[in-house]
Structures are given as C-alpha cells and as structure tokens.
Symmetry: C3
Subunit: 139 residues, 3 copies
C-alpha cells in the first residue's frame, strides 16, 4: 500500500517547533497499516526536520541557541551573502539536520519512543509557509 499527501505548514517564527500532531493528522491511512514506514520530506533548503524531545520547550529553545552559535548568521567568510545574514546559515543548518525523516509504523501508529517528537526547524527570520510531502507505505 502506498499513499502520498502534501501538507502545508503555516508560517512560524525562526526556531524549533513540534509538528507531530499535524503530520499524523495529515495521513489518515496510518491507522490501517500493520507494518510500514512514513517518509516525511520538506521541499525547502532553509528549513529542516529532526526528531527530538517532545516535552520541554526549553530543549527547543536550546536547539535554537546552539545552532545560532555553531552556524553564525552573517559569518565573514560567507560568499553567498546577498539574500540576508540568515540565508547561508539556514542552508548549512538544513544540511546538518536534514530534509527528511523516515519513521517506523506498527499496528496503525508511528512507533516512536516515548520522548520523540517531530520538529520543524525554521532557520529563516521570515520563512513563510513550508511544504511537506508525506509518503506512507506498508501492509
């Protein structure tokens, strides 16, 4: 069984945001899959996806602090600077975190660990709406 859905996420402020609920709600066929995989893909180069702690908002704020420190906006060595100080940093963060997640499905549900949630990582100051493509397969 294969199914594919587009999901457009409303614009969010720069930072890390839990979107597990939106993703699951967009794939109603999940409930009928006994064993399978859900592929979650973001069609952008300045926002990314990761899986991490789903409980404490301070973890998500620390992600934003850490990545701003590790990949500085407006670094003097950037050659690609004409689209704003956050642009090149956003591209690099996107590749460090990645554009997709592949998640196991079991008995009609995502088989995540207790503390795992899906993060939308918005790396631009004005990222706008972001498009995901969700591909579910299984039996």
């Amino acid at each position: 069984m294969w199914t594919q859905h587009e999901l457009t996420l409303r614009p969010v402020r720069r930072g890390f945001h839990l979107i597990t609920r939106e993703v699951v709600a967009a794939v109603p066929e999940l409930a009928s899959v006994g064993v399978g995989l859900l592929h979650v893909f973001i069609q952008h180069t300045s926002a990314s996806l990761t899986l991490n702690e789903n409980a404490s908002p301070d973890v998500r704020r620390d992600f934003e602090r850490y990545f701003n420190h590790a990949v500085p906006d407006g670094w003097a060595e950037y050659e690609h600077a004409q689209e704003g100080p956050d642009d090149m940093a956003a591209h690099i963060k996107t590749s460090l975190l990645g554009p997709s997640l592949t998640l196991p499905v079991r008995a009609g549900r995502l088989a995540l660990g207790t503390w795992q949630g899906i993060y939308l990582c918005e790396h631009r100051d004005q990222g706008g709406a972001r498009k995901l493509l969700l591909t579910l397969q299984g039996e």
Copy 2:
C-alpha cells in the same frame, strides 16, 4: 515482503560502538531478500545512529573527542540543565547524527561499502539499554 523486529542493546559506556553484527543477526529474513531496504531506528533522544569506518577503534574515539568539543557538556547557554550536564548536549548530538539509517539490501546481504559499519552513538554517561526497531522490506 515486510518484517519488523525489536532489538534491545545492552548498556554501553558513552562513546561510539560498532553494532553491525547485532543488527544483522536480529533480522534473519535478510538472507531471503534479493533487493530491498533495511530501516534501523533508535527510539531515544539522547543516543543516535551513524555509519562510519569499521576497522580502527581510534576513529571511534576521535568521534567522541570531536563531538564533545563541538557540543560541550554543561554549556553556559543551555536553559535545559536540570537533567545533568550531558543531557542537553546529548539531545543536540542526537539530531546532528540522526535517529535512523536506511541501508540497501542486495542478494540477501546489506550492500555496505567495504569500510562501512553501523555505530551506536551513546551520548549519555548512563544511557542504559537502548531500543532499536528494525524494519525490513524488499522482494
């Protein structure tokens, strides 16, 4: 063909550990797959998976050195500090390295390069047993 197995890894000390053999042994159906994919997923937010050099133990020790330098324990900027100095660093390392691997299968075996091995990346001082979910599909 789909199959899914849980694999619980015994506790290991903080660092990078080769687990290719344990993973392969936990999926006996691999031998009957001509073309397929094996998805290896860790159900935690402070330990991760990666693929790297399977021969020299000094490579794995250098991974531990590098990541401790790049993502320091107890960084003064962390807000999420109540679960110990290694906790927030472990969350960040987990997202940098990622919670899953998707590996090609061919002629009944993982089609890895000569030097590629699966690493369990244990980012906590006392991580405990870690649970993997292995999903195999193919024909």
Copy 3:
C-alpha cells in the same frame, strides 16, 4: 516495483558538487513510478550526500568553507592521523551530513522543491571515483 542500480561517479575535487542529473539519468524506471521513493546511498566513509540549493555555485563554496572551519583538518586532538590530515575530518563530515538520501517520487519524477538539488560532498583531497547504490521502489 523494486529496482537497484550502481552508479560510479568520476573523481571530483574536494568540495560540494551537484549530481542531480547523473542520479536521475541512472534510474530510467523513475518515469514509470506514480508514487514511490528513491534511496540514494554512498558506499564510502569519507564522502557524503546532502540536499541543498541547486542554483548558486557560491552556496556550494560556502559549504566547503564552513565545514573546513567546523571540522578542521589535522586537529591536534585526532588520534587517527596516519592516513593524512584530511582523513579523520572526512569521516566526521560524512557522519554530520550522512551517507544517504531518501527522496519522494511522484508522477514519474523526483518530487523535490524548486531549489533542491543532490550534492556529492567530497571530503578528501584525493577521493577518487565514488560508488552510489540507487534503490527505487514504488507503484
């Protein structure tokens, strides 16, 4: 439907290189898949794959600058130094960026965003030819 192809990329200089066209050309069955996934896997531990901006060459040069800064060649703390100053750095960069991409397929084409292209990330000074294994599945 499953199909698998090997693709050997000619040697390139150290840095980040667009390879979307070579990858697509190596999987002619893409055109007959309505919904599916393409798994792109590199069988090496000192070169990696990522998805990022496909238009400006300066973005790819900034990737090289950034990763050389973040993961220095010949770092004094590396224990694994006998294979040259770029070797251990190449292993770490490979794990930060990752050995594979899983890409959605829709209506006979890769369903990438407008600006997304596949990068071969060559982390060694003399990396040589690199082997990819491309696994397509879908219906």
